[in-house]
Symmetry: D2
Subunit: 117 residues, 4 copies
C-alpha cells in the first residue's frame, strides 16, 4: 500500500523533474533548504509566550501551518533522495527513547538521558 | 482510515503523557527542539561535497537516518499540539508552488519566484 | 588599529592553515557549521521557561557560554572568508532598524515592521 | 578600553529600552530570533555550489552581508543579556580546539575529534 508520505514524495519528484531541478536537489542543498524553512517557522514563535504559542490567533496559526508545510516538503524530499523512510526512522528513534527514558526515572523531568552505549 | 503519521502522533502523545512531559511540550518549546535536531542533521552534511552527500558511506547514512528520525518526531509532535495536518499543509504549499513556479519559466533556474500577491 | 574580531579572524585563519582545512572552509560549508552550532545553542534553551532562561544555573550558563563561543568562531570565520566586516554590517542593519521601527509607533509592540522599500 | 562589540551591545540596549522591548528580550526569545536569522542566512547559500558561494555576485554578497548583520545583532544582544563576553568565550573554545585537533593528526581531515574528557 502506498502511504501518504510516499505519494507526497512522488509528487515532489515530478515537480523537480519537469522543472529540471534535480541538479539542485543534492542532499546537501536540501538540508540547507530545510534549515532555512525551519528558521522561518521558529521566527513565527520567537516573541510569543509559551501560552500564546499554545493558542495562536487564526492569522498566526495560518502562517505556522504554511511554514510547517514548507518544512514537511523539504524533509520528505531530502529523505526521498537519500532513500530513507521517515516513519521507520522516527519509530526506530522512538523505540530507542522508550528504552533511554524510563518512565519512572524521568517522570516530570526535562533532564537529558545519557547516550545509550 | 488512520494514517501512519497519525499513528506516530498518537504514540508520541502517550510517550509524553506517561512521563508527564506535556508541561514541557508547548509549541514554543517543541519548535526549539525541532530546530536543535535540524542543527544536528545539518552538521552531518557540513563538510561533505555535494557528491559525497549524494552517496554517503553506510555509517554516515545511518547517522543521517537517526537525525531524520529525530526531526520527524519533533515535527509530528509540534503539528499535533498545534492541530495541524502536516500532509495537508504540505500539499497546500505544493499547490501554491505549482502555480508560482511555471515550469517553462523556471526550467533549470534556482531563482526565487516573487511572493504570490 | 586592529580590533578584537580581526585578531580572532587572524587566529582562525592560522588554525585552518596549519591543519590544511582551508579546502573545507568554503562559505557554503561554514554557514552549515554555523547553523549546526546555533542548533546546539538553541537546544540549551529548549525546555527552559523564559524566567529560567534569564537566570540559568552555573552549569547551564557554562554550556551556553561554550556554545556561544562556537557560534562566534564560525560566524567570524565565515565573515572573514567572505570579506565582510561583521560590526559594520551589524551597524548598517541597526541604522535601518532605527528608521523602520519608529520608537513611538512600536513602543511595547512585537509586531514586525513592513520591509523598507 | 571599550571594544567595538561592547559599543554595539550598548547601542542595542538603548534601542530596546526606548521601544520598551526588554520584556521580549529574554534569552529564550533572543536565541530563537538568532536561529531565525541564521535560517535566512543559510537560505542565501542553499542553491549555490561551493565555488559559487566563494565568489558571490555583488547582489548576493550584499544580501549575505545584510543577513550577517542581523545574525551579529542578535548574537551580541543575546550574549549581553546573559552577561557573556563573546570574544572571551570564542577564544576559550579555540584554545580547546587547538588541544583537541592536533595539527599533525588532523591535517587535511574533516573527521571530528573525540570529546575532551
Amino acid at each position: 500500500m502506498t502511504t501518504e508520505l510516499e505519494r507526497l514524495a512522488v509528487r515532489l519528484r515530478e515537480f523537480a523533474r519537469v522543472r529540471e531541478w534535480e541538479q539542485f536537489h543534492t542532499p546537501k542543498n536540501l538540508v540547507m533548504a530545510l534549515a532555512g524553512e525551519v528558521g522561518e517557522l521558529v521566527a513565527e514563535f520567537q516573541w510569543l509566550t509559551a501560552d500564546e504559542s499554545s493558542s495562536p490567533d487564526p492569522d498566526t496559526l495560518a502562517r505556522m501551518r504554511t511554514e510547517l508545510g514548507d518544512v514537511t516538503l523539504y524533509l520528505v524530499r531530502l529523505a526521498d533522495v537519500l532513500g530513507v523512510d521517515l516513519v521507520e526512522a522516527a519509530q526506530a528513534k522512538l523505540d530507542d527513547n522508550d528504552r533511554r527514558y524510563d518512565a519512572d526515572l524521568y517522570r516530570g523531568s526535562a533532564k537529558k538521558a545519557p547516550r545509550a552505549t
